[in-house]
């Protein structure tokens, strides 16, 4: 991998990783040309890009200054909306519906954003520079690379709900939603096939961390229920205090073209294309968005029900109550 670019021109390049080596933070830039990010996750798009021999031979490393300079030279689209979520509740489907649109840049759980949002958990000096670098990173990721893009929707990792106040400081004007689901249904899905934050220690330093040894002493259902409870509680707190829109899985997919259309930057024709994508997506994948609630609930054993009731039910009900209030307020003419 070569050193600094001479021109500082990052057209066609995207930052795919930021990391800290000793005291310095670095950026790994990868060539994407004008290819839109249509894959379910940002890391899927990266994997495709890395299959090209060019991106093995000629990727570039820079310091963080390159991000800040590139933001000055070529500011990206400002974020239209953020999607935060409790996992397994339709956020990927929602991102995929939007990724079909030529008007939308969709960033689905980009790892460099997660790295910067959580930098202060292991680098105490980070708090001072996080807002500037987070804005510069998103600017680099949200370049208009095709020409017709006018909206940027960023879906974050489930555990990023704890960093929502920081995200709000970076982008105070950007609306955000918190997508969630009946916690028993999430827990069953996580038990069956755990996400990264549902395996102790896998995601690195995070507010989800438990005291040393505790995670290992818990049963799987209890660990999952506690983690889920923390995520839902943070989701509720932040929705209530930082103006987030509470959205239940049961409202999908209609809500995308309905009550969320404005927030997501969709006009009437966009909404139709996005909905069409839903059918194509469902056919191809054959899994998401079949009504699987009953099947999931029946699969729950007694231990899982007990743990979920104990740790996750209260914040879920609080979210539901908040959502009802928000829906009632939307329905009331101003």
């Amino acid at each position: 991998m070569a050193g600094l670019t001479l021109s500082g021109d990052w057209r066609d390049w995207l930052p795919i990783r930021v990391w800290r080596d000793a005291d310095a933070w670095s950026v790994d830039w990868c060539h994407f040309g004008n290819r839109p990010l249509r894959e379910p996750f940002f890391c899927d798009s990266v994997e495709l890009a890395l299959r090209r021999p060019f991106n093995l031979a000629f990727r570039q490393n820079t310091g963080m200054d390159a991000l800040l300079e590139w933001q000055q030279r070529s500011p990206g689209l400002p974020p239209t909306a953020f999607i935060l979520h409790a996992s397994r509740c339709g956020s990927t489907l929602m991102a995929q519906m939007l990724a079909r649109l030529d008007s939308h840049v969709v960033l689905s759980e980009p790892p460099p954003l997660d790295a910067l949002l959580r930098a202060h958990h292991h680098d105490p000096a980070a708090a001072a520079w996080q807002p500037a670098r987070i804005r510069a990173l998103l600017s680099a990721l949200a370049q208009s690379r095709q020409g017709g893009e006018r909206a940027l929707v960023v879906k974050l990792d489930a555990w990023n709900i704890f960093e929502l106040p920081l995200l709000r400081r970076c982008f105070p004007a950007t609306p955000w939603i918190f997508l969630y689901r009946d916690p028993l249904e999430i827990a069953i899905s996580q038990l069956h096939s755990p996400g990264r934050h549902m395996v102790p220690g896998l995601i690195g330093a995070s507010p989800l961390d438990m005291p040393a040894g505790q995670a290992a002493s818990l049963s799987r259902p209890e660990f999952i229920a506690r983690t889920l409870g923390s995520v839902l509680a943070a989701g509720f707190d932040h929705c209530a205090n930082h103006g987030g829109l509470a959205v239940n899985y049961t409202e999908l997919p209609q809500a995308v073209g309905g009550r969320l259309a404005g927030v997501l930057g969709l006009d009437a024709s966009d909404a139709i294309i996005a909905q069409a994508g839903l059918h194509e997506h469902a056919k191809r994948r054959g899994e998401l968005f079949e009504p699987d609630r009953e099947r999931k609930r029946q699969a729950a054993d007694e231990a899982t029900r007990t743990q979920v009731d104990r740790w996750a039910q209260t914040p879920y009900l609080a979210l539901e109550k908040l959502r009802m209030q928000q829906c009632a307020a939307e329905a009331t003419p101003a």
């Binding site: 991998m1 066609d12 890395l50 021999p53 060019f54 991106n55 093995l56 031979a57 990727r59």
Partner: protein, 263 residues
């Protein structure tokens, strides 16, 4: 063990390269055998075993069990080897002919925590031989004794007109050898960029400032076609490097990406 191996170190001890060269000359020509790893080199790469594994398929090949001196390990060679206060495994004379090259590879067995350590004593060499370790040229001179961590990527190119001959000694780990490595580190001359890797870096910088060239190369999906295109476009602009330089850059690009998951 807390001892961390450097990429390379020039040990304090020296050998008489003239005497070693004369002893090599005295060995019968038919003693030279082609190296067993035929897929990894071009030109003449051959050797004579001075100590060999009893269970190896050919005298130059690695084995599992004990090693013992071969018929070629006469008193002179025994006296040379006796200066190393370590257990010896295989000991070979290795020759790389003019124009010959050994492709980039790693000897993973040498990287195991209790694996053997390899020493190189150049007997006949010159400035036209590039021994590249981690992409950088190790400035080995005749008569010196070098430890090289060959579990790292390395390759050899003989751009000169004569055969390069090294005495290559695999030793057991131990306090004596580790002390020698530590003692030698202080004045070990620094590795230097190879001519190929410098040309590759210069071409990279050129290419990064040229979006049209970038787009042309970035479009390739097939490695062989990409390699041919890079070498041709670079040569047309006066940058001379080999497909090994490009391959080394690509393997670095791959490992730079995957190392984030290594703890």
């Amino acid at each position: 063990m807390s001892f961390i191996l450097p990429a390379c170190a020039r040990l304090p001890m020296r050998f008489d390269s003239q005497a070693l060269g004369a002893a090599v000359e005295a060995l019968p020509l038919q003693a030279w055998q082609p190296h067993f790893n035929t897929g990894y080199y071009e030109g003449d790469w051959s050797g004579i075993a001075l100590r060999a594994y009893e269970d190896a398929s050919t005298p130059l090949a690695p084995g599992q069990g004990e090693t013992q001196a071969t018929e070629y390990c006469d008193e002179f060679w025994q006296a040379q080897l006796a200066r190393l206060k370590v257990g010896l495994c295989s000991v070979r004379l290795l020759r790389l002919g003019p124009g010959g090259s050994i492709r980039e590879h790693r000897d993973y067995d040498l990287g195991a925590p209790n694996g053997n350590l390899r020493l190189h004593v150049p007997i006949v060499t010159d400035a036209q031989v590039d021994f590249l370790l981690d992409g950088r040229k190790v400035p080995m001179q005749a008569g010196e004794c070098w430890f090289l961590d060959l579990s790292r990527p390395h390759r050899v190119e003989n751009h000169g007109g004569s055969s390069r001959i090294h005495l290559v000694i695999d030793c057991c780990r131990g306090p004596w050898l580790e002390a020698q490595i530590v003692a030698g580190l202080a004045d070990t001359p620094a590795s230097q960029p190879s001519r190929g890797s410098e040309a590759f870096a210069a071409f990279s910088a050129h290419m990064h400032a040229d979006p049209v060239l970038q787009a042309e190369l970035a479009a390739h999906e097939d490695s062989a076609a990409f390699t041919a295109a890079v070498l041709a476009l670079a040569a047309a602009r006066g940058y001379r490097f080999s497909d090994d330089d490009l391959r080394a850059a690509m393997s670095r690009g791959r490992s730079d990406w995957s190392k984030q998951w290594r703890v």
